[in-house]
């Protein structure tokens, strides 16, 4: 795969493909910068500390049976982590179409948010909830 315009990313939440309601998706993986600069050093020195991952998925909410709201609300209320996966292109994982996965929880959910005349969009902010952190899978 060469340079890509994002038009058909795949988002799977708890084994449900919600891609056809997704407006945007962002994966944010961070590692704490731990300062280990010591006496006698001339420059700051850091090492990487604890990792953290957040998947932010903006969806057009849909209140129909078997759609977004009916799927997300139970996930918001459960304390059992579930899998979330994002791929650049809606298709099988491969070396050029990696699947980024986390085991997550959904601590915040805004079923309705918007102004008059707006499409009802909802930010789904999935937070890392397992020690496996962010995985990059190609098969």
């Amino acid at each position: 795969m060469s340079k890509l315009v994002l038009t058909n990313a795949q988002v799977l939440v708890n084994a449900v493909d919600i891609s056809n309601h997704v407006q945007s998706v962002t994966i944010e993986s961070t590692r704490d910068e731990v300062d280990v600069t010591s006496m006698g050093d001339n420059n700051k020195e850091i090492v990487l500390g604890l990792g953290d991952v957040t998947f932010t998925v903006t969806v057009f909410n849909d209140y129909a049976v078997g759609s977004i709201d009916a799927t997300m609300f139970p996930l918001h209320t459960t304390n059992t982590p579930f899998a979330v996966e994002v791929r650049p292109v809606n298709g099988a994982r491969s070396t050029s179409n990696p699947g980024y996965t986390i085991t997550a929880l959904l601590p915040q959910y805004h079923p309705i948010a918007g102004s008059v005349g707006d499409a009802v969009t909802t930010d789904l902010v999935f937070r890392n909830a397992a020690q496996t952190g962010l995985q990059r899978q190609t098969a």
Binding site: D17, V65, G66, S67, A70, T71
Partner: protein, 105 residues
């Protein structure tokens, strides 16, 4: 645990845990019926047992009760009450259309 066939009924896709393929509305996936995840998808309206789906589809049509009573060989079936009422008007004039499927006659 029993594996059963489910029909995808929502407007989202459901990933087959074994193949990783995504099944779309109308597709059939075979899953463990008692599995917590499967139950969650059923509760959310994403999946429906194929047998119940078929039964619902069958129940969605109504056979003409008068034709049935009169021993007609091939009892006509109708998708909604309006069609049944129209049939009554032609085939059974003077009879009251049954109201058991939403009618008010």
């Amino acid at each position: 645990m029993a594996r059963r066939r489910f029909i995808v009924t929502g407007n989202l896709g459901v990933q087959d845990p074994e193949t990783g393929e995504v099944a779309r509305a109308g597709d059939v996936v075979t899953l463990e019926e008692k599995d917590e995840h499967t139950q969650g998808l059923v509760d959310a309206g994403l999946l429906e047992l194929e047998s119940e789906h078929d039964a619902d589809a069958a129940a969605a049509t109504m056979a003409c009760p008068l034709c049935d009573e009169q021993g007609v060989k091939k009892v006509p079936e109708f998708g909604d009450w309006t069609d049944l009422a129209a049939h009554y008007g032609k085939a059974h004039p003077g009879f009251v259309v049954p109201s058991w499927k939403g009618g008010n006659a």
